[in-house]
Symmetry: C2
Subunit: 132 residues, 2 copies
């Protein structure tokens, strides 16, 4: 069952610059930047009173993600729907015709089982299913 | 003081289509669509366990917002930072060099005092200050 909204996924050109900008808006504990070359990204998660801001940057600076950000600028790419049973909710979504990029759960950047939708899930906006 | 994240502002081509897509993802109470011709928009807010999804559509279908959405597609445009003292926090942000579109609080779509930032606030991503 879907339990609420868990985090926002932000595609950014430079995580350090984003954290610097964020530090003018709100106080937070500086996160470690996690390297995930197998996914082609670096990422850092800032918790703002229970909602995560997940900053995601291209790992090499010249991959597909970097090209997308160069074209479109930094963006809030997706939001996460928390589920207490990702296998079941993923099947439910697929049965309702929601197009998913991940046909089965996989371990995401935060070490949780996730499944990403296609952008069509919300008319051009992607959503992520994730364990809490 | 900033208390957390309150809602996401989604710019969409068609609120009804967005609500229809959302209904495949999560259960929610169907919101009324509020007309705000003075702001050039229609809007509807869906509450997902305490976090609002604020769907915003161009009022006439041929205003600046519609043009932006036609070019870029539906998008998560901003997230909201909740403040218990918007006048004070707005001044704090300005003193730290955050560029704001609203220099003073105004009443937003949800009937609360808000102030929108420029996209530069988070390196291309806008934020909104809002009363809870």
């Amino acid at each position: 069952m879907i339990k609420g909204i868990g985090h926002l996924g932000l595609f950014v050109k430079d995580i350090d610059e984003s954290l610097n900008a964020l530090s003018k808006l709100v106080e937070f504990e500086k996160p470690t930047i996690k390297e995930a070359p197998e996914m082609g990204v670096k990422a850092a998660v800032v918790d703002i009173n229970g909602i995560g801001l997940e900053f995601i940057q291209d790992h090499t600076g010249d991959g597909g993600l970097a090209q997308m950000i160069n074209e479109k600028g930094d963006m809030i790419h997706h939001f996460c729907l928390l589920t207490d049973n990702i296998e079941e909710d993923l099947e439910n979504l697929k049965q309702r015709g929601v197009e998913m990029l991940d046909q089965a759960p996989r371990v995401g950047l935060r070490g949780k089982k996730i499944a990403m939708s296609a952008p069509s899930a919300l008319n051009g906006i992607s959503i992520e299913l994730s364990e809490p």
